[in-house]
């Protein structure tokens, strides 16, 4: 141990502490795995928290069926590599209603295939605690979020029921019908996530690296044509561009940036020099004012 640990050492130790507190206090936790860089770090921290024992809870992926194909391949490879119990949940009823991100407003698609699906999955399996990779630096409405974020029955986030957190004491005693979202990476920043990926040599989805990909420009945003479901409209055409993604989600809702950064070092350099904060790449956040606030109240992460 060096005399003074770096800020990443401290953040890592805090996250491990949180994972262990939650695993010890809750009956049936689950790790919400969304495949992106934050989930990659979250999973790595979970492995560290319980090493040399296996992670004592499953992973849950809410699959909207619109994720990039590279994401699904990465997910399945990761589960196999670390011998993880992976639950994939799809809101089949929402699919039957034909909800999709191309014909419907992003907010409707997200609500049905993501928010509702998450609630259905948590109820179906009876999870009382769900780990997520959310960070307080992401957005103003998250700046006040707790590490243990309590949800009333029906998964509603009620500001009045949030518990004060003092020192390192995490009170996980649940009231009737309550569940909890646990955020071990609350105090990380976007830059920390990338620095940590580089330091720990973590593998991430290849979509974070620049490559020639088929794209369509729509509403000033570069979208990737990941499969035939996304077709150019009148006046649009499919063009090959060298692009990468700063965040990953449903491919028709995730804007790319043009970039030459095709190595992890180049991506980190580009991120650390970035002129804009990350959520500009996520179209669902622009859909309505205060969108994240509203989604949180409804039970989205």
């Amino acid at each position: 141990m060096t005399a003074s640990p770096s800020h990443l050492d401290l953040l890592e130790a805090e996250s491990i502490h949180i994972f262990r507190e939650a695993a010890a206090q809750f009956r049936k936790p689950v790790l919400l795995y969304s495949i992106g860089k934050d989930s990659t770090v979250l999973l790595h921290l979970a492995r560290k928290a319980f090493f040399p024992a296996p992670i004592p809870f499953p992973l849950l992926h809410i699959d909207t069926t619109w994720k990039f194909r590279d994401m699904i391949a990465f997910r399945d490879r990761t589960a196999k590599q670390f011998d993880l119990e992976l639950i994939v949940y799809v809101n089949e009823e929402g699919l039957k209603r034909g909800i999709n991100p191309i014909d419907h407003a992003p907010s409707i698609h997200t609500d049905v295939l993501k928010t509702q699906a998450l609630k259905q999955a948590l109820d179906k399996y009876g999870f009382d605690a769900a780990f997520g990779g959310a960070r307080r630096d992401e957005e103003a409405s998250r700046a006040k979020e707790r590490i243990f974020s309590f949800r009333a029955a029906g998964h509603r986030w009620d500001p009045r029921r949030q518990r004060p957190e003092m020192w390192h004491l995490l009170n996980g005693r649940l009231g009737t019908g309550e569940t909890v979202r646990v955020f071990p990476m609350s105090n990380w920043t976007e830059k920390d996530v990338w620095r940590y990926i580089l330091r720990e040599k973590l593998e991430v989805v290849p979509l974070y690296f620049a490559a020639d990909r088929p794209t369509i420009v729509r509403n000033g945003q570069i979208l990737m044509q990941d499969d035939a479901r996304l077709q150019p409209k009148d006046g649009e055409k499919v063009e090959i561009r060298k692009i990468r993604f700063r965040t990953l989600g449903d491919y028709p809702l995730t804007a790319a940036v043009e970039s030459d950064a095709d190595t992890i070092e180049a991506v980190v350099a580009e991120t650390l020099n970035a002129q804009t904060s990350e959520r500009q790449g996520r179209l669902i956040d622009h859909d309505q004012a205060g969108a994240m606030e509203k989604k949180k109240q409804e039970g989205y992460f």
């Binding site: 010890a24 040399p52 307080r136 004491l169 904060s277």
Partner: protein, 511 residues
């Protein structure tokens, strides 16, 4: 506003402390400083935080551009209104959270800073105490025209209560007193007098102007008489609480890890002191001891683990230690407390109710309480206590707690990390109060009408007959015993749980 001030140039657009373009990609900062800001809007709190972000942090260019383009000016000046960098954080989105603390992160070239901001106006005792419990250092902001006020005293008292050791008095708006050294020295002297009453290790006063940036990140050219550090320089040198943790070893066990083979590791974070392979460690509650044979992490085994490190300890003997235990050296153990005296900040909207079942949360233990007696309330301005049997939101209560069973607790002023407590409502689960242990006693307080003792035989025969002697089932045994104690307590019965049998009873603890 003096003419001198108005003519003063805006500090350089690229301040000395601005991070350069990635010296190395994995720039690991030399630690984290958690910073609480205390003061009201009138003292210029938002402007000061905004100025720190503008001058010393790694703001994104779009955030800077927003400020420039807005055209909003700091009152009475032609300078940008830096307080708008906090919009959406403090003023805009009052979500009605009971305790409202916003967390904001920024990096200087050397440090990660975490700004813990709580609204100063209302409910401030519990907000501030809650925020201050995370702080390594607090900036107490005063207006140079007003100096040290009653409120400053309340702030200092709350900081001291929750264990903040480093305090900076930011004497703001020096431009409005003509950059006067006399004014500053007077305020500095008042502040020193005030700080004598408390347990701070370091209290520093810095004269500054948040609007003009003097002594925030850039040395002032208007106050040649001041030769001390700028606010940022000073904050970059403040050690974190973890690095200042004492040398007495404590390790609250969070959970037990098993790899399916021989490994049985006690997982936790070293909260103070350090531990090395070969050390003998003791569980204060059972008296069981063992020698460390392995300190495991996924990055390889360690020889020594120090305060702040999260590890898994393997012992040479398979003793029955589980969550809630606190490991220590054989000497200097925590007290196996049956009675605790504590100071609590009452956080809940609901006043203390003697018939509510409360639980005591320590580092990793949750203990049924057989009785709480509120003795007095503390006046933060005079530090005098007045007798009281009850307490409500924002009160600081002095209480005596009788525990339903023993728990490992330290006195906060001696070993802070294992001397902090929460009071939990056993039915709703809500955290109703946060506090610090001021005295611990291994002797049980004898209630007038005696305890009802929950005997282990009694519990084993019916309620727990489905349980084996495995350590997992022993944890379940204790959980059920706790819950029975809570129910009896709610029915008005003073109750205690019979302690576990000594370890040499011939039972197999490891199964």
């Amino acid at each position: 506003m003096s003419v001198h001030a108005l003519q003063r140039a805006e500090p350089a657009a690229t301040p000395a402390t601005a991070p350069s373009l990635i010296p190395s990609l994995v720039r690991e900062l030399g630690g984290i400083t958690h910073l609480l800001t205390c003061g009201s809007v009138d003292d210029g709190k938002s402007t000061l935080i905004g100025r720190m972000l503008w001058d010393a942090s790694d703001l994104y260019e779009d955030q800077r551009e927003n400020v420039r383009r807005s055209g909003r000016k700091a009152a009475g000046t032609d300078l940008p209104d830096f307080s708008m960098l906090l919009d959406g954080l403090v003023a805009e989105r009052e979500q009605g959270i009971t305790i409202d603390i916003a967390w904001k992160y920024f990096d200087t070239a050397k440090r990660r800073f975490v700004i813990i901001d709580s609204p100063g106006h209302e409910q401030y005792t519990r907000n501030m105490a809650s925020g201050a419990s995370h702080a390594d250092v607090a900036i107490v902001l005063v207006d140079a025209r007003a100096g040290v006020k009653k409120q400053t005293k309340r702030h200092a008292a709350i900081l001291d209560l929750v264990g903040v050791k480093h305090v900076v008095l930011a004497v703001n708006k020096m431009d409005l007193v003509g950059w006067s050294e006399d004014v500053f020295r007077k305020i500095e002297a008042d502040f020193r007098t005030l700080c004598w009453k408390f347990n701070f290790w370091e209290a520093t006063a810095i004269p500054l102007s948040a609007v003009f940036g003097d002594n925030v990140a850039t040395p002032s050219r208007n106050m040649d008489w001041y030769s001390g550090p700028t606010l940022i320089e000073h904050l970059e040198k403040v050690p974190s609480r973890a690095s200042e943790a004492g040398s007495v070893f404590r390790f609250p066990v969070q959970t037990v890890l098993r790899d399916g083979g021989d490994f049985r590791g006690l997982a936790g974070t070293v909260t103070s002191g350090s531990v090395s392979v070969g050390d003998l460690v003791v569980d204060a509650l059972s008296g069981a001891s063992g020698r460390i044979i392995r300190i495991a992490t996924m990055d390889g085994d360690l020889q020594t683990a120090s305060a702040g490190q999260a590890v898994a300890l393997q012992l040479d003997v398979d003793i029955d230690i589980s969550r809630g235990a606190v490991l220590s050296a054989r000497e200097m153990r925590p007290v196996a407390a049956q009675t605790v005296e504590a100071r609590f900040v009452w956080l809940s909207e609901n006043a203390f109710n003697p018939t509510t079942g409360y639980l005591l949360r320590t580092a990793t233990d949750l203990i049924p309480i057989s009785n709480i007696e509120i003795k007095a309330l503390l006046d933060l301005e005079t530090m005098a206590s007045r007798p009281s049997r009850g307490c409500a939101t924002n009160d600081i209560a002095i209480a005596k707690i009788s525990l339903g069973r023993a728990a490992a607790i330290d006195v906060f002023t001696e070993i802070p990390e294992t001397g902090t407590l929460l009071l939990v409502d056993s039915i709703s689960g809500a955290t109703v109060a946060g506090g610090v242990a001021t005295a611990v006693d291994a002797k049980a307080e004898e209630p007038v009408d005696g305890h009802f003792v929950l005997k282990r035989d009694m519990l084993a025969n019916g309620l727990n007959r489905d349980l084996s002697m495995s350590s997992k089932d022993r944890e379940e045994f204790m959980r059920r015993a706790n819950e029975v104690a809570i129910i009896l307590r709610a029915a008005g019965v003073s109750v205690a749980i019979e302690p576990p049998p000594p370890l040499d009873d011939g039972m197999d603890p490891g199964l």
